[in-house]
Amino acid sequence: MIKLQLPLTEADVRQLKVGDEVALSGIMVTGRDEAHTWLINDKPDNVRKLLEGSVIYHCGPVVSKTDGEWKFVAAGPTTSIREEPIQADVVKEYKLRGVIGKGGMGPKTLAGLKEFGAVYLHAIGGAATLLAKSVKKVTDVIKLEEFGVPEAMWILEVEDFPAVVTMDSHGNSLHTKIKADSDKIAKELIGN
């Protein structure tokens, strides 16, 4: 288990390899489809400082609010591939050092991670209560009214958030390898 303190430097992420298990602490931000589109179309400046060196987490949480304070009740990753068209652009534009989600991403993102120096971290899909417990504090939320709870950008202070590196900054993807192997077996089973 490699402990990582956010924000990250390029050197931090360049040493990470596919298969490494990591635990993240510090400030991270959630973002899904609406957030990614907004980041690219509107280029908001108020989030630049926040995102630089941090990671964006593909997550639409279940939240509760008591005494004016937001709490993450359930917060597992959502499917990342939906952001494939613009993820690499978001990473470069906002100097992100990582993306957290599930299911992995495609060649455009993999190339972007290599070029800029960032990694794709796979969180445990469905393990929402476990992951919510690593969120120590919700420090702020952006675009809540407009985007709704799942799509808003939640700013989180996390401690030992667990994930696995499945796409590194050297062009390696675990997803590509698993797919190539299973394609071969599927072909044999289908037998054409």
């Binding site: 298990e21 359930a74 445990i124 899909g125 469905g126 476990l130 698993i178 077996i185 289908i190």
Partner: protein
């Protein structure tokens, strides 16, 4: 004697069913996950991930919080006695859904497809989805499944014959479609999944049958011998794909395969595949005039 529905009592019972389904995995699914974890190689990512999933299940139950933040499409299969008002039952389910959302057992998950606006309470056009049937018993049976978006996105439908798979209009053709679908899904449906299949029907009824299969017990047998044989064969062969938990590689790609058949038109032969994620949240409630019980 006619069954009289106490709407408030029924609504409260449905709220508890939603809470239970969101926060507790059925025992047979947990047992299948434990078996899968024990079967994976020591030190593998597959074993570690299955261990974390099971840990999450224990924590969610203890805290009464959602197992997964995507509390999914709420699918209600309701069986009612003769003479009960469908509208009253529907209204009670809607109110229970709104309350469950307010209590954070459900994430606001109903989005207007034209404006993109989230209704905020999980209700809307055909949301929640309620399917009614009738029976002779003086009780309401309510089966609820919470089916997340990740696994719904990899659910799919084939039309036989399929020339690219060389799949004909027979069970061998059905087999080929299922192998292809689960291979294409990789880890995206939050493997290891439970696979519900509807053979035949039209595009809607085939998929309803596929989703109905998800209420079956993990270790049960299909009463139709041919389908049972196919289920057993697919369970073994799909796990040869090596996709593993979350697509990290491993021996466990699926936990179960359940297949039902529906009458079809002479012109059509659909294979509908409903991929359910490992967080296979479904429970059943039996509501009589005097008591409520949950499975």
């Amino acid at each position: 004697m006619a069954f009289k529905l106490n709407k408030e009592k029924f609504r409260d019972a449905v709220l508890e069913l939603i809470r239970l389904t969101s926060t507790e995995l059925p025992r047979d699914v947990i047992a299948a996950m434990e078996k899968a974890r024990d079967n994976e190689e020591p030190g593998s990512a597959a074993k570690s991930v299955l261990g974390s999933m099971l840990k999450n299940v224990v924590m969610a139950k203890a805290d009464s919080t959602p197992i997964c933040q995507d509390t999914g499409t709420n699918i209600h299969f309701v069986t009612i006695p003769e003479g009960i008002s469908l509208r009253k039952v529907e209204q009670a389910i809607i109110e229970a859904t709104q309350q469950a959302t307010a209590e954070a057992y459900l994430r606001p998950n109903a989005v207007d497809s034209l404006t993109g606006k989230n209704t905020g309470d999980n209700t809307g056009v055909m949301a929640p989805y309620i399917h009614f049937e009738e029976w002779d018993d003086p009780a309401i049976k309510l089966q609820l499944a919470l089916k997340g978006g990740g696994c719904e996105n990899v659910s799919t439908q084939y039309k036989l014959p399929d020339t690219s798979l060389k799949a004909g209009r027979n069970l061998e053709g059905v087999y080929k479609c299922i192998i292809d679908a689960i291979n294409k899904a990789q880890g995206l449906g939050c493997a290891p999944g439970v696979i519900g299949v509807g053979v035949g029907g039209d595009r809607a009824t085939g998929m309803i049958m596929a989703k109905k299969q998800l209420f079956r017990k993990m270790g049960d047998s299909n009463p139709v011998q041919q389908l049972d044989d196919l289920e057993q064969k697919l369970l073994v062969d799909l796990n040869k794909l090596g996709i593993g938990p979350l697509g990290f590689g491993g021996k466990t790609t699926v936990l179960g395969v359940k297949i039902g058949a529906v009458h079809r038109l002479p012109a059509s032969f659909f294979v509908s595949i409903a991929y359910m994620c490992w967080a296979d949240r479904h429970h059943e409630m039996l509501f009589t005039e005097s008591e409520v019980s949950y499975d």
